[in-house]
């Protein structure tokens, strides 16, 4: 945008295109563009640079000005359940989070709660071997709640700091699968008051407006405490987390920026917003 000319209709349209193309959604984008248009009509001197700064401010405030770390339970193990629709990066994100926790000196256990998909437990076991974490698994087709139960008992008995529970990908429209997820949560919370202490919804940055429906339904079913936004190393900007933050008050905790163990960053709202606007 040319730096010093006043905000005009053409610039507003350019900004609208940028925001929509970052998957911010038509509602949030219209709200922002309309309010900028009002600034202009109130005679407030606002150039393209000023407009961008205002938008950034607004988005950062929605996303929460501070990064929120992973929860830590009063008594170990902290139980983290990882959920989301198919293929978003749950299993890989567990590998990355575990790797980070191990590097920070924690004893981490992984639970292969995807007992459905071909080679799901094997995939998690490869990660376990890579980073030096125990993996609790049953055979394919067994009850995921039983895996979670066993993993919790073992983690607790052996003094693990964190238990990360992988679950099968599932579309939020499948009510029987959402019931299965509720059951896993119930079983864990019966074993440990307050568990799972963290429920992370893994959202693929390439996802469009459907991510909001996903967040609503998963939140309704098991109460989501944080989002992991994956595949931000692509060209998708992940703007859908703005609506998720705003509507459901769920913070983004981590972003995935690649397929390796180290490709995880704590969410930084300023950096994220700059990725959209600059």
């Amino acid at each position: 945008f040319s730096k010093k000319k006043a905000i005009d209709e053409e610039t507003l349209e350019e900004l609208e295109a940028v925001l929509i193309q970052s998957d911010l959604g038509i509602a949030a984008t219209s709200a922002i563009i309309d309010s900028l248009r009002e600034c202009g009509s109130r005679g407030e001197r606002l150039d393209a640079d000023g407009a961008v700064a205002l938008i950034e401010q607004e988005l950062v405030s929605i996303l929460g000005a501070n990064t929120v770390p992973l929860v830590k339970a009063g008594q170990p193990p902290t139980v983290v359940m990882v959920v989301g629709v198919n293929g978003t990066g749950k299993t890989t994100s567990i590998g990355k989070i575990a790797s980070m926790l191990v590097r920070e000196g924690n004893k981490v256990m992984l639970a292969a709660g995807d007992t459905f998909r071909a080679a799901a437990a094997e995939q998690l076991e490869v990660w376990g071997n890579r980073i030096g974490c125990n993996v609790i698994r049953h055979k394919e087709g067994s009850d995921p709640a039983a895996v979670a139960f066993d993993a919790y008992q073992s983690a607790r008995a052996r003094g693990f700091d964190y238990l990360l529970i992988d679950t099968a990908g599932r579309l939020h429209t499948k009510s029987n699968l959402m019931e299965e997820l509720k059951k896993i949560k119930r079983v864990i919370s019966r074993e440990c008051d307050g568990a799972p202490h963290e429920v992370l919804l893994v959202v693929d940055a390439t996802t469009g407006q459907n991510a909001i429906a996903q967040a609503r339904v998963f939140n309704e079913a098991v109460g989501v405490t944080g989002v992991v936004l994956t595949k931000l190393d692509g060209t998708a900007r992940g703007g859908i987390v703005v609506a998720i933050s705003q509507e459901l008050n769920i913070p983004v905790k981590y972003v995935g920026v690649g397929e390796g163990a180290e490709d995880l960053r704590p969410f930084n709202p300023d950096r994220f917003v700059q990725g959209i606007l600059r």
């Binding site: 929509i20 198919n86 071909a118 429209t173 390439t206």
Partner: protein, 292 residues
């Protein structure tokens, strides 16, 4: 939904009696918004709405007694035409084996779709060979082998220490010698902006000359669909698209975006995790779904 919103745009028509340019503009704005809500790409939505405007004006929506219905009908027809068009069949090689290569972003559904295609081919009397070309993702080869076992379809693998280009070449050679009529190559998920990985696909293509290169796209993909599709198409030349996870409630505007920007047909859709969940693409059904 769009129908209701268009009705309200034209609702006070009876009082005024005739449709103005402004009414048509308002109606088109509703159409464009519906498309954006459905994840159709920004520029694709704008171009599409322009086409609808030309047709609406041309078909004299202005004089119609039921303009809302007229506009919906035009939008539906335009969408269906845009997404239908040429026959969306698999092309078979004149000399077997027919080689199909599935490509796309991480997690889009390639491995599962390879197995589903093998299942379809087998039901149609072919002898398919599945090829484990993903040497990077943990347990990717195992995943394809488990699916192959479930189907009773052979999976060709050279482990994860061999170059995928060599794996593809050896697989096609084996397919030829064992009289497999169809060879289906699974490839690793990759970003369109990962030059090395896109180069790998180009090298596989020039080595085995696939009959069909199919881009696998997740139906919930948002605005980024155009970037992904155009780069894969520009670098590789795709023959068609498989749109996955249509059993969800994503409107699937990515289908329109991908079609508009590549001109290539959507050949199949997948509608579930079971291996028989693969169907032919129906343009009119997709059009209705996008419009909500």
């Amino acid at each position: 939904n769009l129908s209701a919103r268009l009705q309200s745009v034209f609702s006070n028509l009876r009082n005024r009696g005739r449709l103005t340019e402004k009414d048509v503009d308002l109606a088109l704005r509703e159409v464009r918004m519906a498309l954006l809500e459905a994840d159709v790409n920004f520029k694709v939505a704008r171009d599409f709405t322009t086409k609808v405007r030309e047709r609406a004006v041309g078909e004299e929506v202005m004089k119609s007694l039921t303009p809302a219905q007229q506009v919906i009908k035009i939008v539906q027809l335009e969408l269906t035409e845009l997404m239908g068009g040429q026959a969306a069949r698999i092309a078979f090689a004149s000399r077997p084996p027919t080689v199909m290569m599935l490509v796309g972003l991480q997690g889009s559904g390639k491995t599962t779709s390879c197995a589903k295609l093998a299942n379809l081919m087998r039901k149609q009397g072919h002898k398919p060979l599945l090829v484990a070309g993903d040497v990077y993702r943990p347990a990717a080869i195992k995943q394809l082998q488990v699916l192959g076992d479930q189907l009773g379809v052979e999976v060709f693998s050279m482990g994860d220490k061999t170059d995928p280009v060599d794996i593809a070449a050896a697989a096609v050679e084996r397919g030829r010698s064992m009289n497999n009529s169809v060879v289906i190559l699974d490839t690793a998920g990759r970003l369109h902006v990962d030059d090395q990985m896109m180069d790998e696909l180009e090298r596989i293509k020039s080595r085995v000359n696939p009959t069909e290169i199919l881009l696998v796209v997740d139906a919930m993909t948002g605005q980024d669909a155009v970037n992904v599709a155009s780069v894969f198409n520009d670098r590789l030349g795709i023959d068609g698209v498989i749109l996955t996870k249509l059993d969800g409630d994503a409107r699937g505007g990515a289908a329109l975006s991908v079609r508009a920007v590549t001109g290539k047909p959507i050949k199949f859709v997948t509608t579930g995790e079971k291996l028989d969940a693969l169907e032919q693409f129906h343009p009119e059904r997709m059009a209705s779904r996008i419009l909500g």
